[in-house]
Symmetry: C2
Subunit: 229 residues, 2 copies
């Protein structure tokens, strides 16, 4: 039963590896440039509907007291999230990827330019909802925060390994709905640890506020690291 | 605020369009061949953790009384789903895509060969959990059943247009948890209809059984169409 597809031609694989390695080299330059400019760049990644915008709304309300923040909302289509963020009085742009399933360093760079970095301490990118492709393309962010919503199940780190390997930190969201789902925190932690032995893991609910304080403390620490770099 | 990325070079777009159009032409041949052989090929697509395996388990229990069924479980890694399906006494193979975020016609074809079609009426492909990329690549299936889990939110058809355009039918899953989520069936329907004016839409819960009968009636009808083609 261990069928493995050998369908991808060697050429396809080479092109893909070349694209991602060139992408990731340029993203590293972008990251270093942002750190030189003392700008903390945070990349939020997760499945569709796992609560990126809701958690973002919750943490923005607190972070904007201490920092000047800009937000990049990446979507294939629609601008519902950008309108939500704009309503908080935070600088935001909507990027439409016109079908693309991930954000490259170049798309990231153009979005940062369109946003304007002159007066910002923190930029938050809400990536396309996709637990696969965005993990392959380094955006130049100093921190990759990966969200796993409780309704998705505790086995997801086993099935989507690269996303959890690429995580600087993991947040399990929507913990308030635990009573109606079969989800084990212990199993989730165990499965995350198989992919990533060291990333901090937070259990949060934007609704009840569980874990939000701990996540904010972590983010404050990461922002300070960039400020003091 | 209508920032649109112009970062993809014309070359990249051309390559991509060429790949998908060649893929989809070959997939059409595969679809016609399967219909000639009276085999109904069903492609399940959705976000990670939206309940593909759970719904599949529920419908298999009924469908296997009338049909000889084979299942292809596609995952980037792990074989938890294949083990679940095997425990039902249904023929199953696990395909590992080794990082790939979608199933091409060729991967589909190789998986069908590895499964063996001699004694089957129905083949069900559980695609990679991804609401973006799998919609671009026709697998040769006669029917694309797209799942949207209630916890993901009623706005997802707006953000992931192609998946809902590619759907032969849409199933909203996990309806039993409605009391703890802010989800409107009317809005979901309205948003699905913006992308797809004609696909049947089912509201199901594998836990309570809501809508499963209606979905099975639809699938029986689609299987009959192929048998009588």
């Amino acid at each position: 039963m261990e069928f493995r597809s050998s369908s991808r031609s060697p050429l396809t694989v080479e092109i893909k590896e070349d694209i991602t390695s060139r992408n990731n080299a340029r993203a590293e330059e972008l990251r270093q440039e942002l750190i030189r400019r003392k700008i903390f760049y945070l990349n939020l990644m997760s499945s569709p509907g796992s609560g990126k915008t809701t958690l973002l709304t919750r943490i923005l309300t607190e972070l904007k007291r201490s920092f000047r923040i800009g937000v990049i909302e990446a979507d294939i289509d629609s601008d519902v999230d950008a309108r939500t963020i704009a309503s908080l009085g935070v600088k935001v742009i909507q990027m439409h990827t016109v079908g693309a399933c991930h954000i490259t360093w170049q798309m990231s760079q153009e979005a940062l330019e369109a946003l304007g970095l002159e007066d910002l301490d923190v930029v938050i990118l809400e990536n396309i909802g996709n637990l696969v492709c965005p993990a392959e393309f380094d955006t130049g962010a100093a921190c990759n925060l990966v969200l796993l919503s409780l309704p998705e199940g505790d086995d997801k780190p086993l099935k989507y390994p690269l996303m959890f390997e690429a995580a600087s930190a993991v947040t399990v969201t929507k913990t308030d709905v635990a009573p109606v789902f079969d989800f084990s925190r212990e199993k989730a932690l165990e499965n995350i640890r198989k992919r990533n032995p060291s990333a901090p893991v937070f259990f949060t609910s934007a609704r009840t506020g569980e874990g939000v304080e701990e996540l904010l403390t972590y983010l404050h620490g990461e922002i300070e690291k960039v400020k003091n770099a």
